[in-house]
Every structure is written in C-alpha cells, then in structure tokens.
C-alpha cells in the first residue's frame, strides 16, 4: 500500500467517493436534481482523474488490478457512457411515481464494477467486478417497478446471469486447480505452453470462462436474454447494458485471451470462432422481421459482438487495436441510438414499436436525422464511426487470414442493411393517423446534449479517425 497505488487508483477512488456522497445526499434530503448534479460531478471528477494519471506507466495494485493505459482508456469510455446514461435518465425519471434517486447510485456502483473489470488482472477481480455489475444491472432493469416488462426483465437477467456466473466461478475454480494461480498472465502462459497436451481441467475451465464472457456479450447460444431485456428494461438502462457492460467485458476479453497465440491453442480459437459465426448469423436473422425497434437493436447487438470477435480473433498486433476501435465506435453509436429511443420515451411506456417511429422525420426532423445517422453507422455506411470500425475489423481479419469469418461478416452485414433501412423508411413515411406522438413537450436539454455529442463524435470518428486510431495505437502497444 503505497502512495503510487493510490495515485494509480485515482479514478476508482473518486468514483467511490461519488458513491458515498450520493448515498449521503439521498439519506439527508431527497432531490432528483441534486442527485444528478452530484452524480455528474463525480463522473466528471473521475474522468479528470483518468486524464491526470492516464499517461503514467502501468502499475499493478495488489494482485487484483493493473492500471495501465488500456485500463484507463476503457475506464474513460465507461465513465463517458455512464454520464450519458445519467443525462438521458434525467428527463426519463423526472415524472416517475415515487423515488428514483437510487437509480443514479446504482449506476455509479455499476460503473465502478465495470471499471474493475476493465482493469482486472486476476480472476478474483474478474468475478467480483462482474457480480457488482450484474447485481446493479438487474436492479436497474427492474427499476421501473410499475411496468411488468421491466420487472420481468430484471428477473430474467437475475436468473440467467446467476447461472452464467456460477459457470464462470466453477470454471475459474477448475483453472485454479490446474494452474495454481489466479493471475491472468500465468494462466495465459500456461495455456500457451501446454499446446497439444493441455490438460482437460484447463480446457473445461476455459470453456466455462467463455460461457461467462459470452453471456455478458450476448453471443449465441447465450443470447436468449438480450431481446427481452433490451425491450423490457427502461430505455436508459438498456443503453447502459448495451454499452458499459459490453465494453467492460470486451476489455476483459482482451486481457484474458489476447495474449494467447491462437495458432498454439486451436481449441480456444475454434470455440470463439464458432460463437462469432453463430452470433453473426443468428443475430441478423432474428432482427430481420422484428417490429420492435428495441428488439432490432438487441439482435443487432448480438451480430455486432460477432463482428467484434472477428476483429479479435484475427490475432496479431492489429487485432487488439481493431477490437478497441470497434467497441469505441459501437459505444458511441448505441448511446446515440438509445438516446433517441429514450428521448422519445416516458417512464410508463417506452417508444418501441415501428409505429412509434413512423413519420418521425416530419414531427422531429433532427431526432430522425440523428437516429438515421446512428442506424447507418450500425449498418456500416461510410463516413460514420461504424464503417471505420467494421473496415478496421475486416482489415485485421484479412491480415489474420480468417476468410470464412470475413465473408460471413460481409454477407451478414449486407443483409443487416435491410432491417436498419426499414426503420429509416418508417421514419420517413408519413405519420400514422390517429396516433399520439410520445413526447409532445420537445427534447430536454440533457437529452439534446447527449445526442449532439454522440452525433458529433460519430461523424468526427467517421470522417477523421486519425486521432482516435493513433490514441488506440499508443495504448495497445
């Protein structure tokens, strides 16, 4: 326990302080606006902390976490996404019946869990972070207690996440039984060295770890929860699940499996490759004829994690950079997309079905424009962040020579255009008769801020990705 340890932990400590402050504030005097201000202040302070210490040399704090550039990058990403979620929630919960201040408290704790995941260097950090995230998430999902779908979503996540983390824990136990250490480098070294003669214990442990990771990333066949939960959970929570929980897990994926040379460990490669393949196919097929926008986004997230895995599986130096870039672009895009959904929603009913979006262009041209930009980015149309991400993924894949996955990626993402364009077409169609547009009041400043920032980032990253690529190149060295 040295000063340097604390310096390295600055962002996490600031976040923990914010948690304590918000909790005290709620206990003393409930005030929605005060809670939001405190939450944002804490998040911004933590972001500043990231900026302040982000360039320091990597430091391992206890066996548990390593605060290196990659960790700081992902912590920054997580904090940004959390702040965006909090801002989106601001208007969403304003008219909620009863008390809603706990929402922000839970968001902060969940963000902390995600940060721990991003910096994990040890299996204990892995599952503790994961559990903090899960437990806060299912409360966040069930937060709109008046809505049956919301409570149901929380229940499903509770049971399925419980099962998946039990698998993960048992897997970790088996790995520990075989390796004798819980630190990541030792296990990857072991996996690497063992080659052909790798022990079954280790393989089973690895498989169970993949289950834990696959569940959080919603890879097929662990994708069942996605649609119901995206649809049922309150819109800000969905944005959070789709961004924070995924990016934290991707960070972990990088730490866990990136050092492994896939040629030396074909079992791992094939397991992940088949999951990626199935995710791309099943995700896109499920999205094809959906009528619920939130479900479309859910299924498309399954496919996107498949694409991301293609980048990851390519191996070699470009793989990590491509993966990090992809998840960054994806986070920006999804925050924007769910931002639009949230802005159009109210606490008692989310904007969801295609008819809610029909004619949006005529009632809210700017919102429709933003949503279209986000959808085009998801589809990978040039000049958006999503295109660069996908392009980068394909380039990495081509370097790695995994052509069958690349061809699947290209074909399925061509097919995906169909359902993205369906939403776009609906927005530009004439509005339905005798239908009430969800928000008559207009867009709140906080929601508008998030949407503006995300759109600017989307176009900026899409049109001049140089700085971001350089940054990612620096942190992944």
């Amino acid at each position: 326990m040295q000063t340097a340890d604390f310096t390295a932990l600055t962002p996490l400590l600031l976040l923990a302080a914010a948690i304590a402050a918000v909790m005290l504030q709620i206990a003393l005097k409930r005030s929605h606006i005060l809670t939001i201000v405190l939450t944002l202040a804490g998040l911004i302070a933590a972001m500043l902390g990231v900026l302040a210490v982000g360039d320091m040399p990597a430091r391992q704090v206890t066996p548990l976490v390593t605060m290196d550039r990659l960790a700081f990058f992902f912590i920054g990403l997580i904090l940004t996404a959390t702040a965006a979620t909090a801002l989106l929630g601001c208007r969403y919960w304003e008219h909620a019946v009863g008390q809603c201040e706990e929402y922000y408290l839970l968001l902060l704790v969940a963000a902390l869990g995600a940060c721990v995941l991003a910096a994990a260097h040890h299996f204990a950090a892995f599952f503790i972070g994961l559990e903090i995230l899960s437990i806060s998430l299912f409360t966040l999902m069930a937060f709109a207690r008046r809505r049956m779908a919301s409570v149901e979503a929380g229940l499903k996540y509770l049971v399925l996440a419980g099962i998946s983390s039990a698998f993960l824990l048992f897997g970790i136990a088996l790995i520990y039984a075989d390796v004798g250490s819980l630190a990541f480098p030792i296990w990857t070294a072991r996996l690497q060295a063992a080659g052909e003669t790798v022990s079954p214990l280790l393989l089973i442990g690895m498989g169970m770890t993949v289950i834990g990771v696959g569940f959080k990333l919603a890879l097929v066949p662990f994708h069942m929860w996605t649609a119901d939960i995206y649809q049922g959970a309150p819109a800000p929570t969905t944005a959070f699940v789709a961004t924070v929980s995924k990016s934290a897990m991707v960070a972990l994926l990088l730490r866990l499996f990136a050092p492994v040379d896939f040629t030396a460990e074909p079992a791992l490669f094939w397991t992940l490759a088949i999951l990626a393949f199935a995710s791309m196919i099943v995700g896109n097929i499920l999205a094809l004829r959906q009528d619920s926008v939130k479900r479309i986004l859910a299924y498309s997230s399954i496919a996107h994690m498949g694409y991301l895995l293609v980048a990851f599986l390519s191996g070699g130096p470009a793989a990590i950079a491509a993966t990090v870039f992809y998840i960054t672009a994806y986070t920006i895009t999804v925050l924007g997309a769910f931002g639009v959904v949230t802005v159009l929603s109210r606490t008692d009913a989310d904007a969801d079905s295609m008819s809610d979006f029909q004619g949006l262009f005529f009632s809210h041209p700017w919102l429709a424009g933003v949503f279209m930009a986000m959808l085009l980015s998801l589809a990978g149309i040039p000049l958006t962040a999503g295109f660069i991400g996908k392009f980068y993924a394909i380039t990495a894949g081509a370097q790695g020579g995994i052509w069958w996955l690349i061809i699947t990626l290209v074909l399925t993402s061509a097919a995906s255009l169909f359902y993205y364009l369906r939403i776009v077409v609906a927005m530009f169609s004439p509005p339905l008769e005798n239908k009430t547009q969800p928000p008559a009041a207009g867009i709140s400043y906080s929601g508008g801020l998030v949407l503006t920032v995300m759109t600017v980032l989307l176009i900026w990253v899409g049109s001049a990705p140089g700085p971001l690529i350089d940054l990612i190149g620096r942190i992944t060295q």
Partner: protein, 629 residues
C-alpha cells in the same frame, strides 16, 4: 487548378441546404438552389476542360489532395481527385446533361409535392456521381458508387405512397448490391495483394507484380466486372432497370440513362490496365455486352410502356459500350457513352414531355397522333430517335455506334462474331426505336393532350437535340475525312485501339453495308408500324409469335429464372407450385430469410425456463467444443 473540389462540393452544399431547410424554402428558392448548384458545377467543369486543353498537365492529369481520411497500416485513403481526360469527359456529361435535366425538372415536377426533396436527392446524386468519377482511389470511388446507389434507391421510390414504387426501389437496391458485394470483395483482394487502393499506383503495381493472363488479375477483374454488371444493368443483373422506371422521368433520364448506369463502363475503363492483364475477363466483358445488347434489343421490341422501351434500349446501348470495352476499343466505348447520354437523356425527357402532356399516360397503345399536338417535342424526339437508331451521317449516334461496330471486327481482339452481334443489335435498335416513335406520334389521336410543355422543359429538349445531332462530328472515321478530336483527347487517359492491319482495308465496305442495312430496317419499320395496331391485329398473332412476344415482354423471363434459382434452397416445392412465382423476383431470398427468421424466433419464447435450458445446453456445447476441438 485548386478548385476541383468545388465541383462535387457545390451540389453537395445544395443537397444540405435543401435537406435541412427544405420545408422552409419556397418552391422558387428550392429550384434556384437545386438547378443553380449543378449549373455552377457545370460552368466550373467547362472551365476545367479549357484549362486542361490550354495547358496539358504532366502525366495527363490534374491531381488534388483534399483531405486525408484514415491511415491504417498501408491503407491511406484520402479524399483526393485525379482529373484526366476520361474524368473530364464524364464530368462534362454529368454536370452538363445533369444541368439540363435539373432545368427540365423545374417544369416537370412543378405540380408535385416534395419538390425540395426531389432536388435535394438529385443534387446528392450529382455530387456522389462526381465523386465516383473524380476519385483517385478505389475506396473513394466505392463511396461514390454506394452514394449513387442510395440516391437511385431514394429516387426510384420517390413517390413512396405507392407500394409498387417502393418494391421497385428495393429491387434495384438489392440486385445492384449483389454486384457491389462482388466488387467489394474485389477491392479487398486488390488491397490484400497489392497493398494499395490508389488507382494509378494500383495499376502500376499490378503490371509489375502479375504476369499477363495469370489467375490473380483475372479473378480481380472478374470481381470488379461483377460490380460493373450490377450497376450498368448488364446480364445477368439487368432485371432491376426496367422496374426502376417507377421513378419520375427526369430521374430515369439522369440516373438510369445518362450517368449512373454508365458507371460500370467508367469503372472498367478506369481500371483498363488490370483488364488488359486479364484477357479472359475482357472476353467476358465483350460476351456480356454482345449478349445483353441482343437480348435487351429483342425485349425492347415488345414493350408496351414507353419508358420500358427506353429502359431496355439503355441496357442494350450499354451492352454496346461493354462490347467496345471488351475488344479494347476504349475511347469508342466512352464516345458512345457521351453520345448515348445526349440522345437517351433527350429521349427520356421527350417521353417525359409526352407523359406529362397526356397526364401520366405511359402505355404506347394509348398514344398516337401527337405530331401535330406537340410539334416541338415531335421534332426533338425525332432527332433523338434518329441518333439512337444511328441514321447515317447526320446523327451523333451513327458516328459512335459505327465506330464500335467497325472496331468490334477490326480491333486486334475483335472478331466476326462480335461484328454480327453489333450489327444485329443495330438493326433491332432501328426497329424498336421507330416502332415506339410511330406509335407515339403517328396514327389517330388516342388521348387528349392536357398541357403543353413549358419553356423550362423545351429548352433542354432543344439543346440536347442539337447535341444529339452534332456531337458526333468530333470523331469521324477515316473514310469520311478522319476527324479524331475525341480519341486524341482521350489518348492521355486510355490507350488507342489496336487495329488488326489485315482487316483495316475493308472499312468502307463494312460501313456501307451497315449503313445500308440500317436504312433498310428503317424502311421495314415504316412499313410495319406506321399504321395503327388495329389494322394488323387480325392475322398477326400466331401462337408462336404471341408466346415469343410474351417472353420478350417479360425480359426473357430472367425474373422468373431467378425465382427458380434462388427459391429452391429455401422454400418447399409445394409452395413454389402453389404461389405465383412470375413477379416475386429476388424477393424470394427475403422470403427464405423470413423462414429462417421464423424458425429462429420460435426460440425466443420469452419464457425464462426455456432460456435457462438453452443456456445450459449452450454451455454443454461450448464445453464440448473446448475439450474436443
């Protein structure tokens, strides 16, 4: 020349103004922005042509680096322009013809809702098309390529209230996407093998790396050809173009006649070095061209809708261009592209004037006798039809088509087969053109004329008519004095055609023969079609002829064929027989995907226990995979 970037930027700016402020602009202002931006680009383009002619740049091209986009390893795509003779020609066509079509639209679209939206899409299209031809790397070219596809989709479905239009738009989008996918794979292949997408450098490296006629350039060229075939509506991806006529007529004139559909020709000409390394691919280009020009010609003969006649005629004329490309007659192809842009735009605009006058009537059988009602349209349409039919000496179409027909035989890669195909196509062209012409303008009056075209519509008609007649004089065969202004202009960008010295001497004979045959065909169609249909109806329809007519009317049944090809894997045989498969087209892919979707959705029961069970099952699979793979 530091202002090249303005040429695509101006229409783009126009698009942004119209898209963002469209609702608040008056119709007049929208028209000024829409037409003015393209007009300014046209002025700039012609200024650029003069600058080019005045002082030829080194290496035959201006280049301008506007903006570096990304830099990933070897890949450094930038927004950079490469403007050589080929590009300038294309730019001239796009902005020049584009300007007149925009001007025409002011009158044509006057009564429509979505006026600003129309001009916004049109401006976006012009901008994307300019980017396509000006790009100096294949990635930027691809951006323009997809951009024009998107605009085409939006404009075909412009009247979105009618679901049939939406269907046509989707069909166009999906079918061309099949080609685009091939092209994208081609780009990846080129980048993977040669490490660059910069066109000039790519060509250089291709020559240095690959021996002629080896497998790699052939595969790459064939993949690019796939993209070109889709965009240019050649066999086997031609089915979308006739349906694309659902869009407003100026759209058909601009996108589906003059510019976008010729993008495939441009692509092949632009990458001609690669194609020259792959003789097999070139032969494929020629064969596709020859086959398409004949098949589409036959189909055009039987159409009953004036715009569909023109659509099949466009497919057929682009077939000529492909044939020219395939035999290595590069500048002949581009020359025909230019004259075709003039006369086909003219014909579409003329047809638009007729449709407009008849209040939306498109059926040939309900037209007739319009000669006296619409004299100006009649005259200009005649000029266009003569040029399309390549009437000797006085039309631009004659000079360009004659050049292709002759070089199809005389070029080093030419042969008598190509010549026969080209000549046969030329005869067909005469017949179907004048069939349409006589049906529209001769015979008794069938439908009352509602309103005559205004000046914004007639002015473009006149200008294009003049161009259709005179543009050919810039390039005349040796037998007629040997003017070679166009091919010398092109020489900096495209190689001269290699003529077979043994065949060179026969030129006058072949020309007289083809000109004579064209006149003969004109006479035949005069005899056949001058009189209205009713007079011939009695004895004409032998069963064979009727069947043939039906077959050609349906475009050789390609839609039907694709049904069969794509349906089978997906749908049970019983369902094929029960359903009417004639016009569901490539939708069947979607239907197949739907079946998969339904199967997959059945797993999404919303029931917790199912999910938990599937997780346990998935876990078993993953563990099994990890242990035994």
């Amino acid at each position: 020349m530091q202002s090249f970037w303005l040429i695509p930027a101006l229409p783009l700016a126009g698009f942004l103004i119209l898209a963002l402020g469209g609702g608040r602009l008056s119709r007049g202002a929208a028209a000024v922005v829409g037409v003015g931006s393209v007009g300014l680009s046209a002025v700039l383009t012609f200024w650029a042509v003069f600058a080019f002619l005045a002082a030829r740049p080194e290496q035959g091209a201006f280049t301008q680096n506007v903006w570096q986009w990304i830099a990933v390893a070897d890949l450094t795509p930038a927004i950079a322009f490469h403007v050589d003779a080929l590009t300038l020609t294309m730019m001239g066509v796009i902005t020049g013809v584009g300007f007149f079509i925009h001007l025409y639209s002011v009158g044509y679209m006057a009564g429509e809702t979505g006026y600003a939206r129309f001009f916004a899409y049109m401006n976006l299209f012009v901008s994307a098309m300019l980017i396509l031809v000006m790009a100096d790397n294949l990635l930027l070219l691809y951006l323009g390529w997809e951009g024009v596809g998107l605009c085409s989709y939006l404009l075909i479905g412009f009247w979105y209230r009618d679901p049939a239009n939406g269907y046509a738009a989707r069909k166009a989008f999906v079918v061309t996407r099949a080609g685009d996918t091939a092209m994208a794979i081609g780009l990846f292949l080129l980048f993977d093998r040669l490490g660059t997408l910069h066109i000039q450098e790519l060509m250089q490296r291709a020559v240095d790396t690959w021996p002629a006629a080896s497998a790699m350039p052939t595969i790459a060229a064939l993949l690019l050809l796939g993209g070109a075939v889709g965009k240019s509506a050649q066999l086997p991806l031609q089915t979308w173009l006739p349906d694309a006529m659902a869009g407003p007529t100026p759209v058909s004139a601009l996108i589906h006649a003059a510019t976008m559909v010729t993008a495939g020709v441009y692509l092949i000409a632009r990458t001609h070095v690669l194609f020259e390394l792959a003789p097999a691919a070139l032969t494929a280009v020629a064969a596709i061209g020859a086959l398409t020009l004949l098949l589409a010609g036959f189909s055009a003969l039987c159409q009953t809708d004036i715009k569909r006649v023109l659509a099949y005629s466009t497919i057929s004329q682009i077939g000529y261009m492909f044939l020219a490309l395939g035999v290595g007659a590069w500048s002949a192809a581009i020359f025909h592209l230019v004259t075709h842009a003039f006369f086909k735009a003219l014909l579409f605009l003329g047809a638009g004037a007729v449709i407009h006058a008849l209040d939306g009537e498109q059926e040939l059988s309900r037209m007739g006798g319009l000669r006296r009602e619409l004299p100006l349209t009649f005259l200009t349409f005649l000029a266009g039809a003569a040029s399309l039919a390549a009437l000797p000496l006085i039309t631009a179409g004659f000079y360009s088509k004659d050049m292709i027909i002759w070089e199809a035989y005389a070029a080093a890669r030419g042969s008598l087969i190509w010549w026969f195909a080209a000549l046969g196509g030329a005869l067909l062209t005469v017949v179907y053109t004048f069939r349409m012409f006589f049906r529209v303008f001769e015979g008794p009056l069938q439908t009352r004329v509602h309103h005559a075209p205004g000046v914004s519509m007639t002015l473009p008609l006149v200008v294009l008519a003049v161009l259709s007649l005179t543009a050919g004089f810039v390039e005349m065969p040796r037998t007629l004095g040997g003017v070679h202004l166009f091919s010398t202009f092109m020489a900096g960008a495209l190689p001269m055609v290699q003529l077979d010295p043994a065949r060179e001497g026969h030129e006058w004979f072949f020309q007289v023969l083809s000109a004579g045959l064209v006149l003969l065909a004109l006479l035949v169609s005069w005899r056949l079609f001058r009189r209205p249909i009713a007079h011939r109806a009695a004895g004409a329809d032998s069963p064979l002829k009727a069947a043939l007519q039906r077959w050609w009317l349906a475009g050789w049944g390609f839609d039907w064929l694709y049904d069969r090809l794509f349906v089978r894997p997906y749908i049970f045989l019983a369902r094929i027989n029960r359903n009417d498969v004639i016009d569901s087209g490539i939708d069947q892919i979607a239907r197949g995907a739907q079946t998969l979707y339904r199967t997959a959705s059945a797993t999404q029961t919303g029931r917790l226990r199912t999910y938990a069970a599937s997780m346990a099952l998935g876990a078993a699979l993953v563990i099994a995979l990890a242990v035994w793979s």
